[in-house]
Symmetry: C2
Subunit: 328 residues, 2 copies
């Protein structure tokens, strides 16, 4: 697909200083878009000013919280595209204190969609959904029509947030699409803790010369997308009417956690892993094996992951070997 | 089932001055329970002090809003049963202003469940769910495993509220059960407008000598439970561990709206109906035909509706002929 459709277009990205948001923002700048990134830089979340290093003069950074109804309502006016990536992502945090998760993943989404409806009904909205809404799968690979069965508060709220987007399309014609992301990794991901994905602390462990800790038996299966592949899916669906009101899985070749750890140690050229029993509070919300069926986006948009795990990990280690101090 | 299990037990009912809540409260008083009803008497909602007329000295009325976290947290302590019926029920209101619906149907549910988890983990919770979560059915009758597909903001939030209850059972062992109610009718229902169910304004129309307005072609199919049947289902599931973590449909014999209107005119011994095109904003969230498969609760609890539509309507008209002035 020709991505020149973004040249000269106005794009706003919530969570735009985060891992995926910043990668998307810089790509859009390169494509000639006029980009505003909105982020509140909450320390526990993914926003990091270093993420847009080198692009400071080429995009606009607007510090604001998506829970700030009036600011969001102003910022959305006149934009052509909204990449709606801001979110509370920690499953554990959502269980320990469900209210910030509710405010960010539900209430703010209503603010944003109401603002679109009232002030910018022609905007195109791409929502960052999550595989988490499927819960423990009935069968693998998981298709988009698999029953929704969230296993934590975060999953319930991400499910509601996605439904809002579908509803505002069905009822008001606000053109929106949700991508159900799986584990996404790459440069600029949060590595100081497991709030974004466990892969972050695995990378940090290797960089710091500590062992990778695998919980469970290491046989749990997951799939992983390199961030550029997730970004390319977002760009493709944004430019096409075919995606309006739709939900698409992203995904890739499945791998066991033990297989992933072995690959990481090999690509990193050092380190070790160990297999440990599940801590209790994580066990309660574990989902067993998961990998996506991503044929639907493949058929509609000729999307498939281009960067394999080995290459993606190599690029990621290279980034953190040079920049780890900005991510601790 | 022997309902003597409620004798001497402590019961709290949110939305307890509402239509179903008050009917449930008085039944529990008759069964020997010590009952607290919590209600905020918001004029647009179902609460009405007249609903507990004759029982004023035999139950405790506590005026409070479920959005009041500290009051709810106090009230729940020491109770044996929570019938959690408070909710924003208007589909149209949820679309016009989604935030009160979010606060009542999501945020408050989290307050309540967090309070149970922290201060009363042995409580048994019955949640008033709704058929609305199914949206436009794929097939009829609708079973509990039908895909969830809400068509309005209220449906999304009721879905989330139900998921919270299931989650707090799965993760924390809070014993909860959701009944997905269908159209419930009977004495004490809100009749001044369609915020609870369209049946309310049909009853009011007949009482006031005006025609019943049917939107669409009159062939839409629905099912209806007389309030005593809905209450009996709640009481049965409350007394059994079998319901923990489960979801049950209620339902009854399906009938077309035209068939219902004809029956109402016959039972009322007067009046007329007319068939009108759908107003636009209702059309967008209409679900077509619906009726429930309620075998699951039948098998687990030997529940079935006992009061047929003709008898239920006769009792309802009798009530409103005597008391309509308290419901306008």
């Amino acid at each position: 697909m020709d991505l020149n459709g973004f040249t000269g277009r106005k794009v706003i990205i919530t969570g735009g200083l985060g891992f995926i948001g910043s990668t998307l923002a810089m790509k859009l700048v390169d494509l000639g878009a006029r980009v505003v990134v909105v982020d509140s830089l909450i320390p526990e979340y993914g926003g990091n000013l270093f993420n847009v290093k080198g692009y400071e003069g080429r995009l606009k950074v607007n510090i604001a919280d998506v829970r700030d109804e009036f600011s969001m309502s102003h910022l959305i006016r006149g934009e052509d595209f909204l990449f709606n990536l801001a979110g509370q992502t920690s499953h554990i945090d959502s269980m320990e204190n469900p209210y910030p998760d509710l405010d960010i993943n539900c209430r703010s989404q209503l603010f944003i969609l109401e603002a679109c409806r009232k002030y910018n009904p022609a905007i195109k909205v791409i929502y960052a959904g999550t595989r988490q809404v499927y819960g423990k799968p009935d069968m693998l690979p998981v298709r988009e029509d698999h029953p929704i069965r969230p296993v934590d508060v975060n999953g319930i709220h991400k499910m509601a947030g996605e439904w809002y987007h579908r509803l505002y399309y069905q009822v008001y014609g606000i053109r929106s699409c949700s991508l159900r992301l799986t584990n996404t990794y790459g440069p600029r991901m949060r590595v100081k803790d497991a709030r974004q994905t466990f892969l972050g602390i695995w990378i940090k462990a290797l960089i710091e010369g500590k062992p990778i800790d695998i919980w469970g038996d290491g046989l749990q299966i997951r799939d992983f997308n390199y961030v550029d592949d997730a970004v390319s899916a977002m760009l493709k669906v944004a430019l096409s009417d075919k995606a309006d009101g739709e939900v698409y899985n992203l995904g890739s070749e499945p791998v066991s956690l033990k297989g992933l750890a072995e690959l990481m140690v090999r690509v990193f050229k050092g380190g070790e892993y160990r297999i440990l029993p599940f801590p209790g509070k994580r066990k309660a919300i574990d989902i067993g094996d998961y990998y996506a069926d991503f044929h639907k986006i493949g058929e509609d948009f000729q999307w498939k992951p281009e960067i394999g795990l080995e290459e993606g990990l190599a690029r990621t280690f290279d980034f953190y070997r040079r920049h780890i101090e900005h991510y601790l």
